[in-house]
Symmetry: C2
Subunit: 360 residues, 2 copies
Amino acid sequence: MTVTLADVAARARVSPATVSRVLNGNYPVAATTRERVLRAVDELDYVLNGPASSLAAATSDLVGILVNDIADPFFGIMAGAAQTEIGGQEGTGRAGGEKLAVVCNTGGSPERELTYLTLLQRQRAAAVVLTGGALEDPDHIAAMASKLAKLADAGTRVVLCGRPPLPDGEAIVAALAFDNRGGGRRLTEHLLALGHRKIGYVAGPAERTTTRHRLEGHREALGAGGVSGAAGEAADQELLTVHGPYTRRSGYEATLELLRRAPDLTAVIGANDTVALGACAAIRDQGLRIPQDISVAGFDDLPFSVDAMPALTTVRLPLYEAGARAGRLAMGTEAPPPGGIATIGAELMVRGSTGVARVG
Amino acid sequence: MTVTLADVAARARVSPATVSRVLNGNYPVAATTRERVLRAVDELDYVLNGPASSLAAATSDLVGILVNDIADPFFGIMAGAAQTEIGGQEGTGRAGGEKLAVVCNTGGSPERELTYLTLLQRQRAAAVVLTGGALEDPDHIAAMASKLAKLADAGTRVVLCGRPPLPDGEAIVAALAFDNRGGGRRLTEHLLALGHRKIGYVAGPAERTTTRHRLEGHREALGAGGVSGAAGEAADQELLTVHGPYTRRSGYEATLELLRRAPDLTAVIGANDTVALGACAAIRDQGLRIPQDISVAGFDDLPFSVDAMPALTTVRLPLYEAGARAGRLAMGTEAPPPGGIATIGAELMVRGSTGVARVG
DNA sequence: CTGTTAGCGCATTCAT
DNA sequence: ATGAATGCGCTAACAG
């Protein structure tokens, strides 16, 4: 029924072992023999049996890329870059040594994150790339650390991309972390320099590393700027912060809420660009102008941010480069950074959505 | 070293077959025995060997979802929906019967599309979902048809989502096609009703089904509206059409080109929303207003389209619903439509970016 | 309901 | 450079 290695061997008048060797290309085979075998492969339209191959070799060519939200270009860009790096070597059309880079969407659910890792472990994946911020729940962190350690034990290469290293990060090949704190700080410094003192902050989901780091950078800048230094002002800051998911809707509603709490607001920072666009919509719906009445800033610099009117001031994260590097790290084609940890810079992009704070 | 089924069996004092049965849950096992086995699984921290399992059973739990561009929410939304439907049954944390839904990014390259299919075939994937428009090159169509037939032969369920059926579509389980032609027609009818007669069209990549169908709908409406009926006007239409990739940049540059060719243009249609946003930027950079001077419309109704200023008139495609349905079709949990083919409606969303055509 | 037996298709020793 | 033999870990008949 289905063509096997033995069939190819018979047709090429060689032993199965020889066919295996030419297919895997990791063993010397006479040129004429190889030719004969490849011809037989084509003629029979043979396709290697992956499971059998993986079983015998005790490793597979599967590489998993985990993302929190596949519909968000933030992850799409990183995942696409990693996948290009991993599975990009334009196949021969035949059965070569290509890796199968696949992306798995956890939807931000910690359970599904663990489930996917188990599934990948079950497949004896060659590598796993985890992208984006992590949940800060202690139980989940422990479960993840244990799971990743087992994967590493079984020979799976683990790479973190846009995610800070785990407490006990021995198991991982490398962690590429974004400088969310620094980015957040620079963004707020920019607003302070424009004279803003009442700055609303629509933060991301609570208990996520990304959310916390960006917020910490923001408050760091406020403190250094003397805005939240005085007693009583910490509570004020709490008042000016609202948490929510990374959606336009969250940005819209949180901004309305902030405007209600503090009508004298002169600027709003969004957890990311999508949230910031929601904030823009809310502000305009209130009859206010951007940036004359209220400045708005985002985070990530996704492709559409430059298209907003006015164009969005934001913090650029080199998503493609980070994803590509993670892909190479997973393949073992790039040396890990010293200590296994690298911090990736975040660059402030000043555009039209932020301006001098209005007076009064 | 690594824990196997036999180890679990020994610890639970049952035969390997029994362990296999409780793990796969597709065979009656005494409750107390099952309990004992599951305890042993947990104690030993056993994880099923996927390749071995797939080899013995001659099928795997892998489901591939192919997308043209993972960084584009158009695909992200469909893929995410399909993945939720396929791998969504919140795992027990242990090793259950979950399917592994994975998305593969072809980047629009026909070679990579075929390579991924071969890789999936090699893994003996349980199902494959192909999303988005297809390339119309005859060679590629033939290669795809042949490859899909082989996959189907090997027991892989093939589902098309947002892609028209293949010429000889016997092999596929179902094809869910978007009504791109109807959507394109209604969009242009809307513009004609507003008095537009000179309509620029920034089309998608040539030789793609999606591009052709949307364009056909557009021209159908023009013909019915008497705009391109007269002789000589066909050439005029060619002049008003520019092809390019689905990018903002393409929309921007093509629009500048269209404006150069026909300064009396009163409307521009983008191949999709991203392209339309690029068109908006170009128009504004020329000092023109939307929609007073020029109307702009897109396609897809991606989440950000409503955030443009003014909000984008576009054609809504129910991407999430289509993806979810494709997922269920792939799982076999939903009956295929009659004839295996279903056309999914495209709804016109009129917003602020289109208005009455200026006179003169 | 449970145990026994046989492969699944390939990679890899060892020979030659 | 090639062939022969062995086993990877599991599922699927069959018995019982």
